[in-house]
C-alpha cells in the first residue's frame, strides 16, 4: 500500500522575514486545499512541495521517500505542479504537450489520442496545431493543465487551476480530475480562493501558518 504524500512542517521563506508553514498527509486518492489569507504563502508552499523553491526547513516524502532519493526530476513528474499563470512556449499546443515526453525522466511515450481526449473533455477542440500563445488565457490554462495531466502523476499541485475558466470549463476540469482519482487514485493539493470548489472536490482544509 503506497503511503502517499507526507508534508511535515514544511517551511518556506516569503519576502523579508516572513515565512509560511504547513503539515499534512495525503493517502492516495485524498485531496486537500491550502487555505489562508492572500499573501500568506500558499503559492510558495505549493512550489516548496514541488521543490521548485528550497524549503527553509521541514520535509516532504512521497511513498516514504524524500525527493533527493527519488531524484528531483522523477519526483516532480509524480508530484506535478501547475502554476496559476499558464507558461507555454510559442510553439504549437501539440509541441507544448509533447515536450515533457522528451525529457530524460519520461518513462512512457506521448500518446496523441490521449491528449486529444483530454483536450476535448476540457472543451478544447482543434487546438493541437495552433500556436499555444494565440489561445485565450482560459484556453492556455487548460492546455497547461492537460500538459501536467498527461504525465499521470500521483499528486497534482494545482494553484488556482480554474481562475480563468468559465463555469462550464471549470466543471469539466473538476470532472476530469474526479475521473482520474477514481481510476488511478491520484491525489490533489489545491490552492483556491473559492470555498465552494474545495468542497466540490472534497478537499480537506489545511491552514497555512
Amino acid at each position: 500500500m503506497p503511503a502517499g504524500l507526507r508534508v511535515e512542517d514544511l517551511t518556506v521563506a516569503l519576502d523579508g522575514e516572513r515565512k509560511a508553514r504547513c503539515s499534512f498527509t495525503l493517502a492516495p486518492g485524498e485531496r486537500c486545499a491550502l487555505t489562508g489569507p492572500s499573501g500568506s504563502g500558499k503559492t510558495t508552499l505549493l512550489r516548496g512541495i514541488a521543490q521548485l523553491v528550497a524549503p527553509v526547513s521541514g520535509t516532504v516524502h512521497l511513498d516514504d521517500q524524500p525527493p533527493e532519493a527519488l531524484g528531483y526530476p522523477a519526483y516532480r513528474r509524480r508530484v506535478v505542479y501547475v502554476g496559476q499563470r499558464p507558461a507555454l512556449t510559442a510553439a504549437t499546443v501539440r509541441a507544448n504537450l509533447e515536450a515533457a515526453f522528451s525529457y530524460r525522466a519520461a518513462s512512457k511515450p506521448f500518446v496523441l489520442e490521449g491528449a486529444q481526449t483530454c483536450l476535448e473533455a476540457l472543451r478544447l477542440r482543434d487546438v493541437l496545431d495552433r500556436p499555444a500563445r494565440e489561445l485565450s488565457v482560459g484556453e492556455q490554462q487548460r492546455v497547461a493543465f492537460v500538459r501536467a495531466f498527461l504525465l499521470a502523476p500521483d499528486v497534482f499541485l494545482l494553484d488556482e487551476p480554474t481562475s480563468a475558466l468559465d463555469p462550464d470549463a471549470e466543471a469539466a476540469l473538476e470532472a476530469l480530475l474526479d475521473a482520474d482519482r477514481d481510476r488511478r487514485q491520484s491525489s490533489t493539493v489545491i490552492v483556491t480562493h473559492q470555498t465552494a470548489q474545495a468542497e466540490r472536490l472534497g478537499a480537506a482544509r489545511v491552514e497555512v501558518a
Binding site: 528531483y72 513528474r77 506535478v80 505542479y81 507558461a87 515536450a99 530524460r104 525522466a105
Partner: protein
Amino acid sequence: MSQTIALTPVDLVIATALVFVAGAVSVLLRLGLERRLAVASVRTLVQLGLLGYVLRWVFGHDTPWPVLVWIAVMIAAAGRAAVARSSRKYGHVHLDAFLTLALTSLATTFTVTGAVVGVQPWYQAQYVIPLLGMVLGNSLTGISLALDHLLESLDAKRELIEAHLALGATRWEAAREPLAEAVRRGMIPIINSMSVVGLVSLPGMMTGQILSGEDPVDAVKYQLVVMFMLAASTSLGCIVIALLAYRRLFDAAHRLRADHINAASS
C-alpha cells in the same frame, strides 16, 4: 620596404586639435558632453602613454614575469569591463568572467603564438601582448553580450523554465535553450565582423601594420590568423561563461535560483 614615419610631439599636438572638433560639435548642439569628452581624452592620453612606457619596459626585459603580470592586469580589466556592461549580475559573476577570459584567451593566444606564429621564447611580449589584447577586447564583447542575454532571459522566462522543471525536466534540459541562445547572441558580432572585414572595415591591427610600413599581403596573413583566433576565443568564451553562470544559477536540486540574479545597481 618603406620607411616608418615616426610621429613628433608637434604631430601629436596637431592630432589633439581633432578632439576640439568633437568638443565644438558638443558646444554648438548643446550636447553637454564637453566635460566627459575632456575626461575621456585625458584618459586616452594617460592610458596609452602609460601603456607605451610599460610595454617598452616589459619588452626590454627578457624574463616572463613582467609579461605575466601585465597579462593578469589585462585579464582583470577585461573581466571587469565584461561584467560592467551587463544589466544584471549574480554573486561571483566577476570571478566567473575573469576565469572565462583567463582560460579562453590564454588558450587561444598561446595556441597562436606557439603553434602558428612560432614565437621564441613563448613569452615574447611583442607578440603575446598585442595578440592577447585583441583577443580580450573581442572576447569581452562576446561574453558581456552572452551574459547579459542569458541573465535577461532567465529572468524573463523564469515561469517557462520553472514549468519545464515542474514537468520533470533536468536543469540542463530546462536551461539548454536559453544557454544556446545566449551563446548565439555573443557570437554574432564576431561573425558579422568576419563577413565585412576588408570590405567595410580595415582591422586595427592591419591598419597599424600597414602604417608602420609592412607589406599589405603580410599584414593580411596576420589578420587572417587574428580573425580566426578571435572567432575561436569569442565562441569558447561565450560557452564557458554560459556554463559557469548555469552552474551558479541552477542548483543540484534542479532548481532555477532566480533569487541569485539581481539588477545591477547603476
